[in-house]
C-alpha cells in the first residue's frame, strides 16, 4: 500500500513488460543447450527414416509380428512359463521392497526438507545414491553372481542395490518438493527428525513414493528379464532362449506373461492410488 497506481498515470506499471529474455535468464540457456544436444544427436546419427515409408517395409514388419501367432498354449509350456513368472515376480518384488526400505533410509540424509536444515550428510548420501545407481543392474548381478553363485538370490540383490540408488534419489526429491506447511507447523512446535517425517511429510508424499516404488517394481520385472540371461532364472531366461531360437509361438507366450505381470503391477499401482485418494 506504499504507492497507489492509478490507471490514468502516464506510465502505469503494467505497461512495463516483464522481460522475456535476458542474459541472466538461466532457463533460456538451458533450453538452448537442450536444443543443441537434441539437434546434435539427430545430426550425428544419420537415422534412416526413408526405409520406413515404403509399403513393403510395413508389410515386412507386419509379417514379423504375425509370426507370433499362435502363441504356444500347450499345458506343459504354460506351466513352465507360469513358474518362471512367479520366480520373476518374487525376485522383482523382493528386490524392490528391499530397495524401497534402503532408498528411504538413504533419502532422509540426502534431502534438505526445510530451509534451516543443515543437511550435513547430504552430499555424501547423494554421492552414495549416485554410485548405487550409476552401476547398472547387470554389473551388480555379475559381481553378486560371483559371491552368491547362480540363482535368484544374486539377481534379487542386484535389483535391490541398483534400485535403492534410483528410489533414494526420487524419494529425496519428492520430499524436498513436498508442501512444507504441515511440517513447518510441527517444527515450530519443537518437534524434530523422523517424527516430523512420520506425522507431516510422509502422509503428504506417500502416494508419490508408493507410485515410484510400484513403478520401479514394474521396471524391475523387465530388468529381471535381463538378469535372467546371466543365469538368474525367470521369464527373462525363457524369453532370451526362445527368442534366440526363433520359437515365435513360445516367445509370444512369454511376452503375454510379461505383459500380464506388468499389467498386474500397473493395476495394483492404480488401485493403490485410488485407495489413497
Amino acid at each position: 500500500m506504499q504507492r497507489r497506481h492509478g490507471t490514468t498515470a502516464a506510465n502505469p506499471p503494467w505497461r512495463l513488460p516483464p522481460p522475456l529474455f535476458s542474459a541472466r535468464c538461466k532457463a533460456c540457456w538451458y533450453t538452448a543447450a537442450a536444443l543443441a544436444l537434441v539437434v546434435g544427436s539427430f545430426w550425428s546419427l544419420d537415422l534412416q527414416w526413408g526405409a520406413f515409408v515404403s509399403m513393403d517395409a510395413l508389410r515386412s514388419m507386419g509379417r514379423f509380428v504375425a509370426e507370433f501367432y499362435p502363441p504356444d498354449f500347450s499345458p506343459p509350456f504354460v506351466a513352465k512359463v507360469a513358474w518362471s513368472a512367479v520366480e520373476t515376480l518374487a525376485m522383482s518384488a523382493l528386490g524392490t521392497l528391499l530397495a524401497a526400505v534402503a532408498g528411504l533410509a538413504l533419502a532422509l540424509p540426502a534431502s534438505r526438507r526445510h530451509e534451516g536444515d543443515a543437511a550435513r550428510f547430504r552430499s555424501v548420501a547423494r554421492m552414495l545414491l549416485n554410485a548405487l545407481r550409476a552401476v547398472p543392474e547387470l554389473v551388480w548381478a555379475a559381481l553378486l553372481l560371483i559371491a552368491a553363485g547362480l540363482g535368484p538370490f544374486a539377481g534379487t540383490l542386484a535389483l535391490a542395490l541398483h534400485t535403492s540408488g534410483v528410489l533414494g534419489r526420487l524419494f529425496a526429491e519428492a520430499m524436498e518438493n513436498a508442501p512444507r506447511d504441515a511440517a513447518t507447523a510441527l517444527r515450530t512446535q519443537g518437534v524434530t527428525g523422523w517424527r516430523v517425517l512420520a506425522y507431516a511429510t510422509l502422509p503428504q508424499v506417500l502416494p508419490q513414493l508408493l507410485s515410484y516404488t510400484l513403478y520401479r517394481w514394474e521396471n524391475n520385472i523387465r530388468a529381471a528379464a535381463v538378469l535372467g540371461v546371466v543365469g538368474a532364472g525367470g521369464l527373462g531366461q525363457l524369453l532370451a532362449f526362445h527368442m534366440g531360437l526363433f520359437h515365435m509361438g513360445k516367445t509370444a507366450t512369454v511376452l503375454i506373461a510379461m505383459l500380464l505381470l506388468v499389467a498386474f503391477v500397473d493395476g495394483l499401482s492404480f488401485a493403490m492410488r485410488r485407495w489413497m485418494k
Binding site: 506504499q2 504441515a182 507447523a185 510441527l186 512446535q189 519443537g190 518437534v191 511429510t201
Partner: protein, 276 residues
C-alpha cells in the same frame, strides 16, 4: 511465557528484492498469561509477526526475547526445547491430506512424547479420550476418525484449533482462528481458547479480522499497518476513529478527515451486535 520484541525488522526470504520489508521496527512486550489480539489490514504483516514471535522466521534486525533469552542465540537443541513450549497455529490449518483427524490432533503432543510413544501412536492412537475431549470443545467430536481432507472448511479450521488444546505450550500464537467459522462457533472457539489459555497461564496472541470479537474478548489490542505497529492499546481505548484510520486504504485517507463510511459512528465503547 514472556515475549518481547525490540525494534524487530523482518522480510520473507522469498520476497523480491526492493520490496518493502514485511515488518519494520516492531517493539512490543507480552506479559505471561496476557491475551492480546492482533489486528490490521490484509498484508499488514500479522502472519509475519506471528512467525517471528514463534521463532519460525529469523528477524533481519532487532531482537526477540522469550522469557529473557534470544532464541536465535540458542543452540539447536535448546531452540528445539524452547519451541516445544510454544504453539503456532497457521492461518491455513496445516493438515496433511489423508491423515485422520485423531492423528492430526495428537500430533500437537509430539514435543512431549517419547520416541516410542510417538511411533506407537502412528499405529494406534495413544490418547483417544484426550483428542476426543479437545475436539468436543470445538463441537467436532463425531469427526474423530474422519480423514482431514473429508472435512468442510470450518471443520478443518477447528481441527487446527483443537491441536492447541493438546499442545504442551505456554505461548499460543494463533493466526486468524475464526476466519472460516460461523458466528456462533467463532464465539465459542474464541472463548474456549481464552479460557484454556487462562487456565494454563499461557500467553495468547491471536490475529483476527473480527474487530468486534477482538475488542470484546481481549484486554489488549495491537494493530499493525504496513509492517509497523499502528497502535497498541487496551481494548477500551480503541475508538472507531482509530479503527477507520487503521483500515483506511490510502495514505491520504489516514490524515485527511475521515471519509464518510456508510456506518453510523457508534458510541465510544464498542457494542457487540448479532453480527458475531
Amino acid at each position: 511465557m514472556h515475549l518481547t520484541l525490540h525494534q524487530v525488522d523482518a522480510a520473507h526470504p522469498a520476497a523480491r528484492r526492493g520490496a518493502a520489508p514485511a515488518l519494520r521496527g516492531i517493539s512490543l512486550s507480552l506479559a505471561p498469561g496476557e491475551q492480546v489480539a492482533l489486528i490490521g489490514p490484509s498484508g499488514a504483516g500479522k502472519t509475519t509477526l506471528l512467525q517471528v514471535a514463534a521463532a519460525a522466521l529469523r528477524p533481519s534486525g532487532g531482537r526477540v526475547e522469550m522469557d529473557g533469552t534470544d532464541p536465535w542465540t540458542l543452540s539447536v537443541r535448546a531452540l528445539q526445547r524452547l519451541r516445544g513450549r510454544l504453539l503456532l497455529a497457521p492461518q491455513v490449518p496445516p493438515l496433511p491430506p489423508r491423515q485422520r483427524v485423531i492423528t492430526a490432533v495428537l500430533a500437537a503432543r509430539l514435543p512431549a512424547m517419547s520416541f516410542w510413544t510417538s511411533l506407537r501412536s502412528l499405529f494406534y492412537p495413544v490418547d483417544i479420550p484426550g483428542a476426543h475431549q479437545a475436539l468436543e470443545r470445538f463441537d467436532l467430536a463425531e469427526k474423530l476418525f474422519e480423514r482431514v481432507d473429508h472435512l468442510s472448511g470450518g471443520e478443518r479450521q477447528r481441527v487446527g484449533l483443537a491441536r492447541a488444546l493438546l499442545a504442551p505450550a505456554s505461548l499460543w500464537l494463533v493466526d486468524e482462528p475464526l476466519s472460516a467459522l460461523d458466528p456462533r462457533r467463532a464465539d465459542e472457539a474464541v472463548r474456549t481458547l481464552l479460557d484454556e489459555a487462562r487456565a494454563r497461564g499461557a500467553t495468547l496472541l491471536a490475529s483476527l479480522h473480527q474487530v468486534d470479537v477482538a475488542l470484546e474478548r481481549f484486554t489488549r489490542v495491537i494493530a499493525l499497518r504496513d509492517g509497523a505497529v499502528f497502535f497498541d492499546l487496551p481494548s477500551a481505548q480503541v475508538t472507531p476513529q482509530r479503527l477507520r484510520q487503521l483500515y483506511a486504504q490510502h495514505e491520504d485517507e489516514l490524515h485527511a478527515p475521515a471519509p464518510a463510511l456508510d456506518t453510523p459512528a457508534p458510541g465510544p465503547a464498542p457494542v457487540v451486535m448479532h453480527c458475531r
